[in-house]
Amino acid sequence: MEMQSVRHRAPAVDAVRPVSVFRAALLAAATEQRKSRARSPERVAAVSRLCDADLGMLVSEFEALLAESAEVSRLVERLHAALARLAPEPRAEEEADVDAD
């Protein structure tokens, strides 16, 4: 019985699979952000908009970066592009709407 409990506590194979670990860590970090009190209205809005699709895209991006070259500038460029996809700039018509307002 004790042996089984020890085996149950032992780290599983997932412990050495970076993507799985990253997914769990990302979920934990997102949960923590949702629980914490944001300081600014922008931050509150950003946390409220955070969804599972965002986290899934981040996991996919992490997996892609694992196969990318180890050059930091290239990784930075890819990460900026991913963030731009997840949070795009306001479109021209939105600016026009703003002007009309």
Partner: protein, 745 residues
């Protein structure tokens, strides 16, 4: 899987070739049989570095002969062969081959290629896959956790994840900077809108006219301020001049008061007269001194002459001495005359006595008187001789008396002359001393007179200087009064100028304040007009962009935090997984259950059971050795693709049962078709090799199929193969005759 080891001139062997079997290979033999040489040949071939010996040159069995090691191993279906040597010629043959093709040449390139193929860095291989003899205690003191941790990073791709974390951190910082910059822009836009609203309320619809009027007012106030400043400077200069004049007059008055006294001309005249009188007195003293010095010279000459003069010569100048000399000379003449008579008589008496003595009577003739030529009778002659002798005595006495008188007379004269000479010399000395004393006194008077004259001259010069300075002061006062007017009006004029200066300063301050106010108004108006002319982004659009960047920043933060957590958990998880597997093996070996391993202080491992928690150092020697072998076995199997372990004396500290359990554990953990574990041990004593041989005969032990191939030269130690159910033993027995030919593997 290691398949073959070939050495030449290598430690215990001239030339030897060893083919290994799959599974567990155990080398047995006494000390010096060459067991460790085989293991070290493998380590040297794979890493190029010595393990046991401090220097690779010590590998050579015969110095100067080429040393060569070749090791063959399999990875999957591919067979590799690595060759290394020590001499220059052999070093040129260092190479890694695979399937007849050279993958790398040169020591460093071969080492790097082996690391790449095996997935094990050389230091990890030397510290983990190769357990040298006596490594148990070294391991406990310095556990290879750092090497394990570094290797984990490579095996699990943590280096790439670390680069991703660097990139994520940089992206998060850049997004945050962009958001902060945007927040600043939004703040500026908000302020701009507020300023424009305030400007419209303040300046109305025509701010440019007000701007022109303010500029005119600014120019006017500048001119007025300049005039006020000029007036203030002028008054400041006047006040300064008046103050300087008053101070100068006060200074002149103080100096004149200090020089006040009698008339300066009369004082100069008196001082001059005094100088003349002192000069005359000094001249008189100088004349007296010259006279005295002349008299002193005359006295000195007279004294010299007197000292050189004979005392008796003084009679010429002294009448008393001359009279005394004349009297003495008269007496002397009388004495000389008496002496002459007495001498003549004495001579006659002597002649008579001599005649009478030399003419004794011979009987024939009688002596005759020489005077009267009368014959002298003997009695008469005798009587005359007696009378002559008496007379002669009288005459000699008379002569002696006269001579004494003569000496006494002359001595008296000389004494008188000497006394006179002495008196004259004493008088001369007294005169000379008096003259010298008079000269000294006169010189002192002359010195005093000179000082007095100098003092008079100093007073004369002071009087002249006082008269000159008084003249200058009078001239300066006249000049100052001429320049500033009446001195009596000076205080009133100074007070008036100071009052005017205060008013001018107030006027200047008022103008300055007015000008500052106008300039501030103008600056505010200019800023308003510039802001009015500028185009800015609408605050609403900036607000939208702030939302977008806040979302990006949040996503970047989550990403970076998750990457960091991934690094930590993968590293910890991999170690925990490794420790867990070793713990399970340790449970089977020791019978303890459950067992949990954790990193303790300073990176050392600790064993936790349900009842106890022990540092490795607290285990017995055999337990520590078994634990270390299990740890090596697990790490060697898990990290790196080579799948082999090299264990030197692994059962040295174990008893028979523990050794058996450990061998069974090792054999069970070996994959069926790959992975080797090479163990060496002594065939005698309490070492594990003898137990391994004994285990080989134990019924029911698992058997290893196949035969080993061994080829040895006639000069190499011999070996005896033993097939056992527990494993394949190669027992080195130097006393056994070597086989003449090797057997194919």
């Amino acid at each position: 899987m290691l398949t073959r080891i070939s050495v030449r001139n290598w430690r215990a062997f001239d030339t030897a070739d060893l083919a290994l079997r799959p599974g567990l290979n155990v080398l047995l033999g006494p000390n010096g049989a060459g067991k460790t040489s085989w293991l070290e040949a493998v380590a040297f071939a794979l890493t190029g570095a010595p393990v046991v010996l401090p220097n690779a040159r010590l590998f050579a069995r015969a110095a100067g002969q080429p040393v060569q090691v070749r090791v063959e191993f399999q990875l999957g279906e591919r067979t590799y062969g690595v060759t290394r040597g020590l001499t220059a010629q052999a070093r040129g043959q260092v190479a890694l081959e695979c399937g007849g093709r050279r993958l790398a040449e040169g020591a460093e390139a071969v080492t790097a290629a082996i690391e790449r193929e095996l997935g094990v860095p050389p230091e990890f291989l030397l510290r983990v896959l190769y357990m040298p003899e006596g490594d148990v205690y070294r391991f406990l003191e310095k556990p290879p956790l750092a090497a394990i941790d570094a290797h984990l990073q490579r095996v699990f791709g943590l280096e790439q994840i670390a680069q991703i974390h660097v990139a994520a951190t940089r992206v998060r910082q850049e997004v945050k900077r962009e958001r902060d910059s945007l927040a600043s822009l939004a703040e500026q836009a908000l302020q701009r809108a507020q300023v424009l609203a305030e400007g419209r309320a303040r300046w109305g619809d025509d701010p440019f006219t007000q701007q022109a009027e303010l500029r005119k007012a600014r120019e006017r106030l500048k001119a007025e301020l300049e005039a006020a400043s000029a007036r203030r400077r002028e008054l400041q200069e006047q006040a300064h001049r008046l103050q300087q004049t008053a101070q100068a007059l006060e200074r002149l008055a103080r100096e004149e008061a200090a020089l006040a006294g009698d008339d300066p001309d009369e004082a100069v005249q008196r001082a001059r007269q005094q100088v003349v009188e002192r000069e005359q007195a000094e001249q008189q003293l100088a004349q007296q001194l010259a006279d005295l010095r002349a008299a002193q010279r005359l006295l000195a000459d007279e004294g010299t002459k007197l000292r050189r003069r004979a005392p008796l010569d003084l009679a010429a100048d002294d009448p008393e001495l001359r009279a005394q000399r004349d009297a003495v000379e008269t007496v002397l003449r009388e004495i000389d005359a008496a002496l002459a008579r007495a001498s003549a008589e004495l001579q006659g008496v002597r002649d008579s006595s001599a005649f009478l003595t030399t003419q004794p009577p011979d009987g024939a003739t009688e002596p005759v008187c020489p005077v009267c030529r009368q014959a002298l009778p003997e009695p008469l002659r005798q009587r005359i001789l007696a009378e002559n002798a008496a007379r002669e005595r009288q005459l000699r006495e008379e002569i002696a008396r006269l001579r004494a008188r003569r000496v006494a007379a002359r001595t008296g004269l000389e004494r008188a002359a000497a006394a006179l000479h002495e008196r004259l010399l004493a008088a001369q000395d007294a005169r000379e001393r008096q003259t010298a004393d008079a000269i000294v006194a006169l010189e002192s008077q002359q010195h005093a007179a000179s000082q007095a004259r100098n003092e008079a001259e100093r007073q004369y010069r002071a009087a002249l200087e006082r008269r000159r300075r008084l003249g200058e002061l009078a001239a300066q006062r006249a000049e100052l009064l001429a320049a500033s007017g009446d001195s009596a009006d000076l205080p009133a004029r100074t007070a008036a100028v100071r009052q005017a200066l205060g008013e001018a300063q107030q006027e200047e301050a008022r103008r300055t304040q007015e000008l500052r106010q106008v300039q501030e108004q103008l600056a505010t108006l200019d800023g308003y007009l510039q802001l009015l002319a500028m185009e800015g982004q609408p605050p609403q659009l900036l607000e939208r962009r702030r939302l977008v960047l806040a979302r990006r920043e949040l996503l970047a933060e989550l990403f970076a935090a998750a990457v960091q957590a991934t690094i930590d958990r993968v590293r910890a998880g991999a170690l925990a997984a490794a420790y867990d597997e070793v713990a399970r093996a340790w449970e089977r070996f020791s019978g303890w259950a459950p067992v949990r391993l954790e990193a303790g202080a300073k990176g050392k491992l600790a064993v936790h059971t349900a009842a106890r928690a022990l540092e490795l150092a607290q285990l017995s020697g055999g337990e520590r050795a078994a634990f270390l072998v299990l740890l090596h076995a697990h790490l060697g199997r898990h990290f790196g693709r080579g799948g082999f372990l090299l264990l030197d004396e692994p059962l040295e500290h174990l008893d028979a049962d523990s050794g058996q359990r450990l061998l069974e554990l090792l054999r069970a953990r070996l994959p069926r078709r790959r992975a080797d574990a090479g163990g060496v041990g002594h065939g005698r004593g309490r070492g594990g090799a003898s137990r391994a041989r004994r285990h080989g005969r134990a019924p029911g032990a698992p058997a290893l199929a196949g035969r080993a191939a061994l080829g040895l030269t006639p000069h190499a130690p011999c070996a005896r193969e033993i097939d056992t159910p527990a494993g394949w033993l190669l027992d080195f027995q130097p006393e056994v005759e070597a086989p003449q030919t090797g057997k194919p593997g």
